[in-house]
């Protein structure tokens, strides 16, 4: 594997990773901007519209025909949040030329499509093409409506909204129905021009061999783009609420969901992740072993870290009459860690589990791309091997201190309606 990072311009990074084992070529372009409930939806609709049509392929049917004739090449957009930051991305992926049956230049044509989608979108007179915009906007509205389809995801999203209330991270990565509804073809295009001008940009290229045409395309295209990049900050600890806030909804569901949100002030992220692994991330964690296996209260009970907000979420799907029992056990298992009840086996297995995950980085193009982008967010570019050494240095004492700094901030519960009516 060969890793190389270049600054094309101020706040435009280009990371090239070549690894000959791959049969595909992937390019991701990430625009990084402050998350805001007011602009999140417009940014998402804008970047989604870029992948719906381009200036020379001005309809989805044409773009799709082209992509499928390139052996099912893909052009897609994504939106994620990391802390108080919104990341809007465009990804292009295709099989490499040596697998073309008819000798096509798949990679060259794909690069052209990507260039057009970013630098020559289907827009004129200060707005996106009406049809592309209209359909893309409806897609987002449908997606927002369908949040409830995934009950676990919905509960986690509501928990984040409660935990980060008053902070940018309160918003989802795509905004609300109201904010999406208010976006116009003009405001979406304006939002995109603003991203092009102000957002720091990170480009990642993962392929079996180098292709100078890729970096040259971006260098040339961005040199013709006016840029006044704004500073962004990924890590912003979320303040602890003065009192634990509990909120709930009722739905016509058979299983209740509970999400407990904890906040901490520990600066050692490696200790936080070790705590997370031991407390509730793996099938030998304290929560899996006790809440699921010993007490039979649930199918899942797991922890997850939001390192950007210094937060840990614990989520469980549970019957209504077992909610308090589950809550008590989750807190009890945290107390066990605070009291130093961590075995050598737990320490060792947590490190092995993390090592296993780290060594797997590089087996897929997306894991390479994600790893090095996350490093940039943390302002620390290290290899997975170097990262593991940091986990290895974490002591029990570090984990105990981290656990002691965890404080319950808020709780979200999704109740089942039927049982509520019976009470």
């Amino acid at each position: 594997m060969k890793y190389n990072r270049t600054e094309l311009d101020k706040n435009i990074g280009f990371t090239s990773i070549t690894d000959e084992k791959f049969k595909t070529s992937h390019i991701s372009v990430r625009f990084i901007t402050k998350l805001s409930a007011e602009t999140a939806s417009a940014n998402v609709i804008a970047t989604d519209t870029l992948t719906y049509s381009t200036s020379s392929l001005p309809a989805l049917s044409l773009l799709n025909e082209k992509l499928s004739s390139l052996y099912g090449a893909s052009l897609s957009s994504f939106s994620i949040k990391k802390g108080d930051i919104q990341i809007l991305g465009i990804s292009a992926s295709c099989i490499v030329n040596r697998y073309a049956i008819d000798g096509e230049d798949i990679e060259g044509e794909m690069l052209d499509i990507l260039r057009e989608s970013i630098f020559s979108p289907n827009a004129k007179d200060g707005k996106f093409d009406d049809e592309s915009f209209r359909i893309t906007k409806k897609e987002l509205l449908d997606r927002i409506d369908s949040e409830i389809n995934n009950k676990r995801g919905y509960a986690l999203s509501r928990a984040g909204e409660i935990a980060f209330r008053g902070e940018p991270a309160q918003s989802t990565s795509y905004g609300t129905k109201e904010s999406a509804d208010a976006v116009t073809a003009e405001s979406a295009y304006s939002a995109y021009l603003n991203l092009l001008k102000t957002a720091p940009v990170e480009i990642t290229y993962v392929a079996p061999s180098e292709n100078p045409a890729v970096i040259e395309m971006f260098r040339k295209s961005f040199s013709e783009t006016e840029r006044i990049p704004e500073k962004v900050k990924f890590h912003t600890a979320s303040p602890l609420k003065p009192e634990v806030v509990t909120e709930s909804d009722e739905f016509d569901v058979r299983q209740c969901k509970m999400v407990m949100t904890f906040k901490h002030n520990c600066d050692n992220i490696y200790a936080v992740k070790m705590l997370n692994t031991i407390w509730g991330e793996t099938p030998v964690s304290k929560l899996f072993t006790n809440v699921r296996e010993k007490m039979s209260l649930c199918y899942y009970c797991a922890t997850r870290v939001n390192k950007y907000k210094k937060t840990i979420f614990v989520d469980i799907g549970v019957e209504r009459n077992n909610i308090e029992k589950a809550k008590a056990e989750i807190l009890h298992q945290l107390d066990e860690i605070r009291n130093g009840n961590i075995t050598d086996e737990e320490m060792e297995s947590a490190k092995l589990s993390l090592d296993n995950a780290l060594t797997a980085v590089g087996d897929t193009p997306s894991s390479y791309s994600g790893w090095y982008f996350d490093c940039l967010c943390d302002n620390e570019i290290i290899t997975p091997e170097e990262c593991f050494l940091k986990y290895k240095s974490v002591t029990k004492e570090d984990i105990i201190n981290t656990a002691k700094s965890l404080t319950l901030d808020s709780i979200y519960i999704m109740y089942d309606k039927e049982d509520a009516n019976n009470e």
């Binding site: 049917s61 799709n64 099912g72 897609e139 793996t282 092995l352």
Partner: protein, 427 residues
């Protein structure tokens, strides 16, 4: 042991197949440059295998719904420890799944694969069930069942199968019901285990950063020879007709979600592969973002980008399914039926056919780029009675006439069903 090498004529990829003296079929794919290993140890035993007997049995045994899945959960407990504790010592991530026609135990790891493989082969061959451990699992699986009952995608799919199939057990939920799993006890689990976990009914598929000889040496050490006892599974007679043409359920969802499916004639092995590829192309003609129907319904707001197609097939069942979200699923169903009729009458434009074939070929190349996908592909092909790279060859050999023939003979309006999950009315 003879090592048979399968090679893809299109990509040059290769893997090794061995029929082990223990009775087990083994597939190994060494993938240069990859760090991870994915291993799957599977048995041809899934939720549809509710009625079976051995050669020497007089009567068929009928077992409760959901028992294959229950057995999968319980096999993770050894007499002296939990299997996850063993994997925790190697760093591997262990898991298992039960589907309609198989149960698979798997691990993925990037170090110590040989130790993890020993754990996998050992625990799957060592069942240990007690009343207490069975009772304990009822609560956990009960919550899993409730969780899937709250999943509208799951409900819409099974409701569709219940519209399609009168008797075939593919219509039952993989995990069973709270009531059916209450009938499961340790004796029944042993009965199922001893029937289906015979190595002659199983396959090991391992891919990634492995060495063929190392894998085989561990197999020699850990596999216990099994006598082939002539397992027979039977399915109730299934009429060609559907049960009913539509079903609706209310759940908390956004836009209503739908599954629209054609019940087709089931088939096996090579014929199933051919029909699978042909129907994939047929379904792409409808769901492809460039198709007239999709464009029309996208533009008028009836469909969104969740619309897609799937071929669902196995022993005794085959269906072509269209799924997505729509405020007007009836319009989607009628449009699909009209489009199928139009293609039947007018034929398939060669340009679209070739484009879709290229896209499917590209998807196969992508699959070979991924350790997990390669392990799954080898196992899936074996369980379907085909070879690992047959799918790529079948795609390249497929003709538009063949696809058209399948469309005309199989996609019949009287075998079309629709399942919809729509929003609960709030009080």
């Amino acid at each position: 042991m003879n090592k048979n090498i399968f090679t893809s004529s299109k990509t040059g990829d290769k893997c090794v197949y061995v029929k082990h003296p223990s009775g087990l079929d083994i597939y190994i794919c060494e993938m240069d440059g990859f760090s991870t290993v994915e291993a799957l140890f599977g048995t041809k035993y899934g939720s549809i295998n509710t009625m079976f007997k051995m050669r020497d049995d007089k009567e068929y045994t009928v077992v409760p719904e959901g028992i294959a899945h229950f057995l999968e959960h319980k096999l993770f407990e050894n007499e002296d420890c939990d299997v996850f504790e063993l994997y925790a010592k190697t760093g591997a991530s262990g898991n298992a799944y039960t589907s309609f026609d198989r149960t698979c135990y798997l691990f993925s790891c990037s170090k110590n694969y040989q130790e993890s493989l020993k754990i996998l082969l050992d625990f799957v061959q060592k069942p240990y069930f007690t009343k207490a451990s069975v009772d304990k699992e009822q609560g956990i699986i009960g919550q899993e069942i409730q969780m899937t009952n709250d999943n509208p995608e799951w409900r819409v799919f099974f409701n569709m199968l219940r519209c399609m199939y009168h008797n075939h057990p593919v219509k039952i939920d993989i995990a069973g019901t709270i009531e059916s799993i209450a009938q499961i006890d340790a004796d029944l689990l042993y009965k199922c285990y001893n029937t289906f976990y015979n190595l002659n009914n199983m396959v090991l598929s391992i891919a990634g950063n492995v060495k063929i000889d190392e894998v085989l040496a561990i197999c020699d050490e850990y596999l216990k020879p099994c006598e082939d006892k002539g397992l027979e599974t039977v399915f109730p007679d299934e009429p060609e007709t559907i049960v009913k043409s539509e079903i609706y359920e209310k759940q908390p969802v956004g836009t209503p979600i739908f599954h629209i499916g054609y019940k087709c004639t089931p088939c096996n092995e090579r014929e199933r592969l051919e029909k699978n590829v042909a129907m994939c192309i047929a379904s792409s003609l409808i769901t492809d973002a460039s198709s007239d129907m999709y464009q029309r319904l996208l533009k008028d707001g009836t469909l969104n980008s969740t619309f897609g197609g799937e071929i669902f097939c196995g022993d005794g069942y085959f269906s072509v399914i269209f799924a997505g979200e729509s405020s007007d699923p009836v319009k989607v169903r009628d449009s699909i039926a009209n489009e199928i009729k139009k293609i039947s009458e007018n034929g398939i434009p060669e340009k679209d056919f070739q484009r879709i074939k290229k896209s499917m070929y590209g998807a196969m190349i992508r699959q070979l780029n991924n350790v997990e996908a390669v392990a799954s592909m080898m196992l899936g092909a074996h369980m379907a009675g085909t070879s690992p790279y047959d799918m790529i060859d079948m795609i390249s050999e497929m003709t538009s006439d063949k696809v058209l023939e399948y469309i005309r003979t199989e996609l019949s309006e009287d075998k079309l069903v629709m399942s919809v999950v729509e929003e609960t009315e709030n009080d």
